[in-house]
Subunit: 331 residues, 4 copies
């Protein structure tokens, strides 16, 4: 049954395989009359691009966005927007063995069991490469939100290295995308060492949403934290999500909990209060290890590259709820 | 915009306020010809009922389920099933002050901001009482799943008390619904002491899903962990969700991660493998503290009563995906 | 699979069988802060009530609307509104024979084939009685639309009797709900004669929508005429729908067609222009004839009673699209 | 708000403008393991192609289908299928005047009013060219249905010329796609004369569905006739739809109606009985007349080219309901 469409008003449909002709996305429900900057769109894509540094895969995918519909003379027309990225540098033959061999920790075997047939090349649809579609949609989502709203994700922890300083301007200036200038070198060295060993590492990504719009979230099932949770868990790499005090609440008393509004994480009753929203996201180590990892075409730590995707998914949820909220009160 | 319907094939629509005429649920997409046991339905409801012990609220709500449609001579007809529960023991006047007063940590103020008007009595629709609808739907969901599949939630941690033993038969035999016979008394005493102080506590609920059906989950957005995540975060009380190795992955290497399949939590590529599924759920302390809590009509720890609701939500997701999966392969 | 929910923002879920405990509807997505007049709601229901005259069934169903949720102190709260009608005067035993006997032209046999099990009493869910839910939803839909918008359905033709005059005030003053004062007596006599013969008649219902909101309809699949078409064909009794010049276009040239804007029926490109909208709806003769019809508990002509239902369905579509249209242009 | 997705299990998302980069479609929910014949897909597209004869537009669009995803080594993988058609022979400059000029009977003005901005070239998204996407989806829909099921549309009437013979093999052998060999020359001559006059004509298209699957249709809103109605009215050119006895019921008595099962049109209670289904569809004359029509780039009668689209839409509805029906009875 279909599962490749997300959102109710800002509606995103993703398609494409890792080594197929092209990946892409259809965005339906985008209002008319909004100016599109195709360079900014490309820049958003470039942020998740592999081959950016020693801590990411050495694959080099140009990932050139091509707009097929919905934009006329740089403005949205209210019609569905389709954007595609043609695949390149595919080296499908690298994956020939995967036709009959299932990699541990990968989706190969489950896709075979569920569908009885699959595109085995590079994980096919289960590849992280699918997130290209999400980053594209995230660019459009951002255009809907108030300009003051900022979604900032950063690498909070890798191994035992826990960032303590938070300098948002530093995030894009270091390959691990940590906000702590004092720790970036150590984090980078840790990942590079793992890479040499044919190993990888998990990470903790923290998100701060500054100046979020108020009143987002629709009771009872479409609470904002429910839809954010779904969006984030729809990323293959995410194994845990929490907001505000998160798992810390398990040993907290009610008096302590309500004493510090930061514990609420900017959400009450499943609806944004307008206060800063904080999220913690656990990202698992990439499952490709040993010889295959040594070949260098895999990420020893996915955090730096999943960060733009996490931000995109959050913006997609917010754009959808921003439009949904417009119809809550008397007309 | 509507947010009270959940699921694509097994479709649950919840309605009703804490102190309105009735709460209820419409279940559409339930197959025809399945035998309904109204006593078992009532027993499911009774499990979440308040007033069961010293560690829950003293409110006594009979919560009598009344079937309005979709069942004929104890069998489902394929038509939408509506079940309602009339409200009793409402004491609306207890809440008169709430019309203009907003309780910290509650949804009162955000509902007022979002809708401009609200039913303030007992939290109205934001009350935990709404979960009655979910427990009813969970009963029907269970009828769709293979009988061997078991969803077992238990209180893993309260304060600093962490359960280590796991005796599933013990869960229903103690008021805190822990699976550790050695710890139940301490947990109970801890909660009772907080109650005397007009305080409350958070908790960690662990879930084990035994013999889950294989192949549940629809790429890419409707991964099983995405829909479970949404379902669980749609409960007001949940602040964190993780599966398998959970937040432990943040300091784990890839080699360690894939060495122990238990880390995958029974899910790969967002699809169930058929192996046991494990989930960790953070439950915040109830926000009602101080004088109001002393009145005794609030839960000093919501874990024991949220456990049947958590199980219900998981069964609802599974029922929906169980039906969805039937259409994956060639006809 | 579920099929009992209609609409995307103004979302209507219908439930209940002809002879079950109750019929009802959940309306989700209704904005907060709108005043509800329960007497007007009851009056809307009374318009479709049987037993109103010699040309309708003699069954007498009080059809008392009971609001279960979503309304507080006569104002909507933005929460889902559930309204039910308990069944009375059911005489289920009248239908005992139907358990094994299938009536020609009825849904008995197809429900048995599709579901393998059914509530046979009075047609169960396939009974026209289900439209009670739609009339309730129509009342709420009307509250969303501009007050100047009027949906006026009337009996245009019965047998060979074709109304020519159009006096909208006359419609509620005669039992056949024709707008032609000169023809009402003949129409009534024609139906009464058929009733004596144990027979029934089809009819043509015409609808005029005065002062419709402009810009309703969402390309390409949710054109206003597409969603109206679905809404009207979802009534068991409707066998044909056309708008504007309707089937007359088949022998019309393009020059003639565009010469008279009335031919467009107030819709261009699937979007309302703001001009008057005209619809023609073919209503089949009730299939119960002969001895059973003589028992008097069936309508010899359904037109007068389907008219309030047709109006309700149109209002439901309009309310949904009215809210949907709010998000078309730049924010 | 989004309106470019159709269907619940077999889910079709259409995108693209008449003179944009490309038109296309994403089909989600297509089962895995089905063999795709790209030549047959192309042949389906060629059937609706303009420039086929003197009675259609002289525009010559190659309309080459390009598969971007979801198919691997000629078999479906269960992943979303994206197919696009690049636009050619666009002559956008032909339409320069349309930027500020609104053509009567076209959607130009309503798109401007609704969206405040539009792609004016050739009608943009409101162009009949959008139906390319539907024909592609129809090819895939057909692969899901039993091979015995046949959807046959033909031109029943043009002007006063009414086909009486029905030879299905003849339909593809004449440019007007009538099934009556005795009338095709007259019909063709009638259209050619109108074309010379810069005029056009409406038509009646009849559909026969042979060996339809039984039990399709989901009460109460998703009756098969409701979803067919929506699908057909979502075509800009359709002004009327009826099934079985159609508008003939308005002057029919119940005894006559039930005497001939053909009157039911193969549908009872909104569910297919397995008997032949008959539909009548009114198709309006193309609104481009006068000088513009003389330029020859418009269809003087759209019936021959809308017939493959009508068939496609019916197959799409049937494929969706065929999959939906699989979950009606006990598991």
């Amino acid at each position: 049954m279909p599962g490749n469409t997300f959102g109710k008003i800002f509606q995103v449909t993703s398609f494409g395989e890792s080594h197929g002709e092209a990946l892409g996305v259809v965005i339906d429900g985008f209002p008319a009359g909004i100016t599109i900057d195709s360079q900014a769109l490309q820049a958003a894509l470039d942020r998740r691009r592999p081959g950016q540094s020693t801590v990411t895969t050495s694959r080099n995918e140009a990932d050139q966005a091509q707009i097929l519909s919905g934009i006329f003379q740089n403005k949205s027309t209210g019609m569905p927007i389709c954007v595609i990225v043609h695949n390149q540098d595919q080296r499908s033959s690298d994956y020939d063995k995967l036709q009959t061999e299932f990699r541990p920790g990968h989706a190969d075997a489950v896709f075979q069991a569920k569908y009885g047939y699959r595109d085995h090349r590079g994980g096919g649809r289960s590849s992280g490469r699918e997130t290209v579609s999400r980053v594209i949609a995230g660019y459009f989502a951002e255009l809907i939100l108030p300009k003051t709203c900022q979604v900032i994700a950063h690498t909070k922890q890798i191994g035992e290295l826990i960032a303590e300083k938070f300098d948002p301007d530093f995030i894009e200036q270091n390959p691990v995308r940590t906000a702590d200038p004092d720790l970036s070198n150590q984090m980078q060295a840790y990942i590079e060492q793992l890479k040499i060993n044919g190993d990888s590492t998990g990470a903790l990504v923290e998100v701060q949403i500054l100046n979020p719009p108020q009143n987002l979230g629709e009771p009872v099932f479409d609470k904002i934290k429910a839809d954010l949770g779904k969006a984030l868990f729809s990323l293959g790499t995410v194994t845990g999500v929490s907001y505000g005090a998160g798992f810390g609440v398990t040993s907290m008393t009610g008096k302590n909990y309500i004493a510090n509004p930061a514990n609420f994480g900017g959400i009450l009753g499943g609806i944004t209060t307008g206060e800063i929203i904080t999220l913690q996201i656990a990202v698992k180590p990439t499952s490709t290890t040993g010889e295959k990892a040594l070949a260098g075409r895999h990420d020893p730590c996915i955090a730096p590259r999943i960060i733009p995707v996490i931000e995109a998914m959050i913006k997609i949820v917010f754009a959808d709820h921003y439009l949904r909220n417009k119809i809550s009160q008397e007309l």
